[in-house]
Amino acid sequence: MSQDAQLHAIRRFGLGPRPDALRDIGRDPRAYVLAQLDRPDAAEIRDEALPPTHEVLQFEQRRNQKRRALRKSDAPDEEEIKRLRPGPIRRRVYLEETAARVHQAVTTATPFVERLVLFWSNHFAVSARKGIVRGVVGAFEREAIRPHVLGRFADLLRAVEQHPAMLIYLDNRRSMGANSRAGQRRRRGHNENLAREILELHTVTETAGYTQADVTNFAKIITGWSIAPHRPDRGREGGTFRFLAHMHEPGDFEVLGTTYDQRGVRAGEAVLEDLARHPATADHIARKLAVHFVSDTPPAELVEKLAATFRETDGDLAAVSRALVTHKAAWAAPAEKVTPPFPYLVGIMRALDLQPRPREVVRLLRTLGQPLWAPPTPKGWPDGDMDWAGPAALRERLRIAGRAARRARGAPRQDPRSFADALFGPHLTDPTRIAIARAETVEQGLQLLIMSPEFQRR
């Protein structure tokens, strides 16, 4: 293990140092990281104040019904109609979820598990920019991602693809078979967005050699994967995943050489099971994990080991994560990756014990190019070593570091030199140590520390 192993444990496999981090890690950094995997529920956020997806969707549907009714009245109450618009509620929930996500990342005792959450949340990207998704994107991560990051990939996949946020984001909610009852009555048909992205981005990728016919067939198979309408008047609760048979395209369809003759929701679920087990999926996930945690050009033996583990354990993500942490090559490579904005800001909060308001976090993430839960495409955020170190981004990191340094209280302010030691100990390079020691002011010393390569790379 390289002499930087302690640093890897807190940066590569963590969310940056707290002042007491090195003591916790001790002489066996690998054991420190591995121990985090022994708590299968470590990723979960249990906060009763955060509304589940179905409550947000029900709430919005009720308000929309009220608005429509008001609009139809003879003298519409414009003030009330305006008050009932959906935007402010979505934003309020989004801010609450932001606060919870940040709090979890800053305070967690299992930062490696939290990193896995960030990885999978980005792999199965949805975007808050698409209407109601803003109101449920946090719940999506809590409900579909967090329970499964140390479970089976197949379970994670199903939870994600059947979650209302994904069904809305990739337009499957209203996709219906042209020959289904609803399709015939309303002269509508399917749309292939979700089917295509499941194949291309979530599982096998184009290396599996699927065709347009595979995409079309898969899209037909998952017609009817939708969201239950909310009908309290008929005693039916809505806002959860529901297979709507009247929208489902009848018939058997072939995807990647297998014909699916199951009925109803089971055909699509069988496709997902097969895609989860496909060797191309194992290769895809293995490579993506290695690029995320190690470098743009990860050691081939590491990628092969991860893929083999994925295949042999039927996609047991705890086993795959363990294989990553126990592989020598994952510890040998130098810290090449510039930390993306979210973990960078979390790192500042962890180090300096700062608690900015969620609004400020949202704004800073946007400035740095990574607005929370709003990647530009279903492919998620880029993950290259230098993707987050553009000139403007680095300049704004400097501004943020200056503001953070001014806000710091307590130990960091008493002496930036000993504070830097408390964070990085013997791993601080001499140039950084000297730069901090020669700083004109306490604030400048802290600012340089937050901008140092030690703080920005992992």
């Binding site: 184009e206 995409v215 090449e336 230098m386 503001r403 140039p431 390569p453």
Partner: protein, 436 residues
């Protein structure tokens, strides 16, 4: 040897930046010389991500199959909701009134049934091909616009030109060997960057991380070009957000509300366009840039007549106006090229939207454009002529357009175009007469 030292050595080779040199980066122009040469051309490429439905922007209302295929998404040929006639076949979407004006002034050209060499239907591979300039899907490492910067005639400049990228993350099209400056609204508008701190940090980076040093130097420099008050002016600008700012109403009130169709919703389009125009028009600013607008992936409720796409095109039209106004006198020397990774299915899908397709439209505007034309070898929309029975068939390779533009507008030699910028495209002739 520690890891840091290890990294430093490899970085040095990659970067070929002498340690310490990063702090001394100045804008590489000698404006007086450039001016005396008579021309000072600007090129801005706007990447519309998500697959723009070209059939709904330059609409083939004269095609006999159009109404049948697009049904409820079809623009009427005449009467209420009809577009602006471009010629006997095409009409421009009614949301784009300013673009129509430019078209009438012969400063805008529509290219139709155009496609990159990519023939699949993945956004991501499609964008990679569009931006890399390669002949197909392959190992991408840099983008054609960046490589073009390395082949510019020097025109009296002392050091090579840098590219401009608006946004915190540089898109593939602008990545590569040439230096790139990027711009994003400042994190805190009232906090200035202390030059003394920058100097100390650069001293640190010079010893352990020249890569970060170069990036910071470029970032700080662009702040200077942006001029005083740029922070305050832009701090409310949403970074390429396609929805209102998360900061809510307060923020929106502070920002001048555009009155045009599309309104506040696409204020970010206007803000980023105005910003790009400011850099490209300033005397010592960059001359070649890229800007991206995402959110054109209209699978569901496309809203061509009145809705999603109509509003978005209104935002785009306002962005074109912001570019026109912001470039000022430099408009006459400017070309703005709008491209997208692919078009959308000829027929409306089952959810009043359109799925991923193949050929689409591209748009060129600017004072340097020989406009007022639709350039299209129109394949038609009959069942027989559709690509794979579903998409508008490509009859024009987008690379021919870009090659023509780079050659005639920026003076890049044909050899470099065929070899370095669009590899293996020797057989593809640069399109002539695109410029006024």
């Amino acid at each position: 040897m520690s890891c840091q030292e290890d990294r430093l050595l490899t970085r040095r080779r990659v970067l070929q930046v002498a340690a310490g040199g990063a702090a001394l980066s100045f804008w590489p122009y000698v404006p007086a010389v450039a001016k005396s040469a008579g021309r000072d051309p600007r090129l801005l490429v706007v990447v519309l991500r998500g697959g723009l439905d070209g059939l709904s922007v330059a609409v083939p209302v004269g095609d006999p199959d159009y109404q049948r295929l697009r049904r409820e998404l079809a623009l009427p040929k005449s009467g209420e909701g009809a577009g602006f006639a471009l010629d006997g076949t095409f009409a421009l979407h009614p949301s784009m009134a300013f673009l129509r004006k430019l078209y009438e002034q012969k400063q805008a050209t529509v290219l139709h049934a155009v496609a990159s060499p990519y023939r699949g239907r993945s956004h991501f591979d499609g964008q990679d091909v569009l931006e890399s300039g390669l002949g197909g899907v392959g190992a991408v490492k840099d983008g054609w616009l960046n490589r073009a910067l390395t082949k510019l005639p020097d025109a009296g400049r002392v050091t090579p030109q840098k590219g401009l990228s608006i946004g915190a993350v540089t898109p593939l099209i602008m990545r590569g060997p040439a230096d790139v400056v990027t711009w994003t609204p400042p994190a805190y508008r009232h906090i200035d960057i202390d030059p003394a701190t920058v100097e100390r940090l650069q001293d640190l980076y010079a010893q352990t991380d020249p890569e970060l040093g170069q990036a910071l130097a470029d970032g700080v420099e662009l702040d200077r070009v942006a001029g005083p008050g740029s922070g305050a002016a832009m701090a409310s600008g949403d970074q390429m957000m396609s929805e209102p700012s998360m900061m809510g109403m307060q923020d929106a009130a502070a920002r001048p509300a555009p009155k045009k169709r599309g309104g506040r919703r696409y204020a970010s389009f206007i803000d980023t366009a105005a910003r790009a125009a400011k850099f490209l028009s300033s005397a010592d600013g960059p001359r070649v840039g890229v800007l991206s607008y995402s959110g054109w992936d209209t699978h569901f409720n496309e809203g061509v007549l009145n809705g999603q796409l109509a509003n978005k095109l209104g935002g785009l039209d306002a962005a074109i106006k912001a570019l026109h106004d912001g470039l000022g006198p430099a408009w006459d020397q400017s070309v703005i090229l709008f491209v997208t990774e692919f078009g959308r299915t000829a027929e409306t899908n089952g959810t009043r939207g359109t799925d991923h397709g193949t050929a689409t439209m591209a748009l060129m505007t600017g004072g340097a454009v020989r406009g007022g034309r639709v350039i299209a070898d129109w394949p038609g929309l009959s069942e027989r002529s559709l690509y794979e029975g579903r998409d508008l068939a490509p009859t024009l390779d987008l690379r021919a357009v870009t090659k023509g533009l780079l050659q005639d507008h920026l003076g890049i030699p044909a050899g470099a175009l065929a070899r370095d910028i669009f590899p293996d495209s020797g057989a593809l002739r640069p399109m002539a007469d695109l410029l006024a």
